[in-house]
Symmetry: C2
Subunit: 371 residues, 2 copies
């Protein structure tokens, strides 16, 4: 089903909006109250470009929550169960954020810009409101803001070539999640080795939105020799790779889930000496043991993606949920991501999903999917 | 410009989604991470129905943040500058919510369901995260949740007739923002005299999403004799009426604004004996005097709605912002909402807006617009 998109005044436009119009964007979605391109008219070619070449994506909707000031480091450490000891300036880290009950409310990448200045590159929830409430109720000297920062992603096996052509070969030496403040012909940005795919790449965090079109054009020009083309964060690739999507795989209001269930429990430091949000709840969850586990599913047939969570049944009992279902060109079959009762192993037979086209069978399989 | 809409897995569907498909929805937008119908193919007829007849709207995206427990009343009073003394069970109140710096972060209607149970019927931001952070950092016994509640609005001059046909004539006696828990042939709901238009009407807060299609069909059937038809919150009518839209007219990240600037300063009680979020900041703002004021604008010509905020200029200097611009059928001319430097009165000449089709002149005028 396709529908017109009503670009309401409550939806923000990215600094790359005009450039994506010129590039022929055909479909939008919404993320963090901002329009984000969904595809440019040929989803199959866009997937192939990501898997075998190089793609450029407007991911300005991945907003930055900036935390700065004398108590910034203290606040950042307090809001995540991950132990940030030893994090250096220029280093990024994936940080689950849990509420006081231990439920995930976002899973940003943290960028340490200075000892007293951080960005949280956030998934689809208003994390700034929560951070700000905590900082102010604690009485800490930490300012929470959303700066003028708009990431443009270069993703795919040839991303390093394009990025090196733009910035020089030093970009090849950047560690994963490493970043550096730099500029491109005077356009200020933070260059990070990161991106929401497993095909490798970089994100250019533009720090002055007036240069959106200019930056887009420079990347397109440098990438032309490598066959670069426009695209968008790719649902098929992310399901194949097992990447977590806050808002899709879990959301506080829809599918509450904790870091253990989501398979990122190793990032939770239950033994930290300092207090942090959700510590007691996470200790209790850990002590109680895993009730559900994140898993991939092989899906029978080639059903249409339902576009919303669907319960997984076993003998008429709900035992889990499928959060996203796609057909994988690489694997030649339908696959899904979801949560399953933890006592049910990969050999479990009889799992099924009721879809508009009928009942289909499911079989659990570890992530990422293997042919 | 129209684009396809990509219904991503991170966007929730309303309990009325299937019913709106049947009713021929043609365009969606997104609000509170949920799809919301934008129109059903004939925006002019939908506007006329609201102004002269009766319309039904899926406004499930107007989510409820429920606050319950022994400290619920204390929390609710702490998070708004409005004095809630004397609020009775069954009464709703419009409550600006400001952050600790006095900036608006939402402007819900508060429904007092019991002395220890409230709903905040929220505009487009994740207010639950902020409420929850405050409750837990305070150590108060107040639970914050998002219950299974989905409003369906009946709006327009004939809304009372339709609603009375469904529930009985008692609905005509309800005060504005008054509500009652009831049911329709066993479908549980809260019936409120409210809605996001100035044409009058009701909202049916369905409290069990499984009955979405059934409730929609009952309203459509009872409304048939009155010419009811599907529609959506109407941008043109709301601009004509001067209704505030958080997310469009102001948003913490885009157009920060305080209650005084937005013309709802009368709801701020600076003299309350109890502490509340933002009290000191609001006192300072009040003492400093108004810097900007909310106003309507008559707009020269008939320019296309830009779909994003545009600065207002006077002699080359930015002196305000237009947040939404529409052509008003009722007034036969283009109108806009926005903020203007407070020292500039309605007689100010030379205000202008630079739009893609060129420069257009503006003249301030009080809200709501008068012919």
């Amino acid at each position: 089903m396709t529908f017109d998109f009503a670009i309401g005044a409550n939806l923000r436009k990215s600094p790359y909006f005009d450039a994506t119009l010129r590039a022929g964007v055909k479909s939008f979605s919404v993320y963090n109250h901002m329009l984000i391109p969904a595809h440019f008219g040929d989803p199959d070619a866009e997937y192939q470009r990501l898997m075998t070449g190089v793609a450029m994506w407007d991911v300005a909707a991945q907003r930055q929550v900036e935390i700065s000031g004398p108590d910034a480091a203290r606040l950042v450490q307090y809001i995540t169960p991950r132990n940030l000891d030893g994090t250096r300036v220029g280093q990024g880290r994936y940080v689950p954020i849990c509420d006081h009950d231990g439920w995930l409310i976002n899973d940003p990448v943290l960028l340490k810009l200075a000892d007293d200045r951080f960005w949280l590159s956030v998934a689809d929830s208003d994390l700034h409101l929560w951070c700000q409430a905590i900082a102010r109720e604690k009485g800490w000297k930490a300012r929470v803001s959303e700066p003028d920062v708009a990431p443009l992603a270069i993703q795919g096996p040839l991303a390093a070539d394009v990025t090196a052509a733009l910035f020089g070969d030093w970009v090849r030496e950047l560690q994963y999640f490493g970043f550096r403040e730099t500029n491109l012909d005077g356009i200020p940005l933070v260059l990070a080795r990161s991106g929401w795919s497993k095909q490798g790449g970089y994100e250019l965090y533009l720090t002055d939105g007036r240069h959106g079109s200019a930056l887009w054009d420079k990347v397109a020009a440098a990438g032309a020799a490598f066959g670069i083309g426009p695209g968008a964060p790719n649902d098929i690739e992310r399901v194949e790779s097992g990447l977590i999507s806050y808002g899709s795989d879990m959301r506080w209001q829809v599918i509450p889930a904790d870091p253990f269930e989501m398979g990122i429990g190793a990032l939770v430091d239950l033994d930290r000496a300092d207090d942090y949000v959700g510590r007691e709840a996470l200790r209790e969850k850990s002590a109680r043991g895993l009730q559900r586990r994140r898993t991939g599913f092989w899906v029978e047939g080639r059903p249409t993606s339902p576009g919303h969570p669907v319960p997984v049944h076993l003998d008429g009992v709900a035992v889990g949920v499928v959060s996203e279902l796609v057909f994988s060109p690489r694997l030649g079959r339908s696959i899904a991501l979801g949560l399953l009762r933890a006592d049910l192993g990969d050999e479990t037979a009889g799992l099924c999903l009721d879809l508009p086209e009928g009942r289909v069978g499911l079989r659990p399989t570890p992530l990422p999917f293997k042919p």
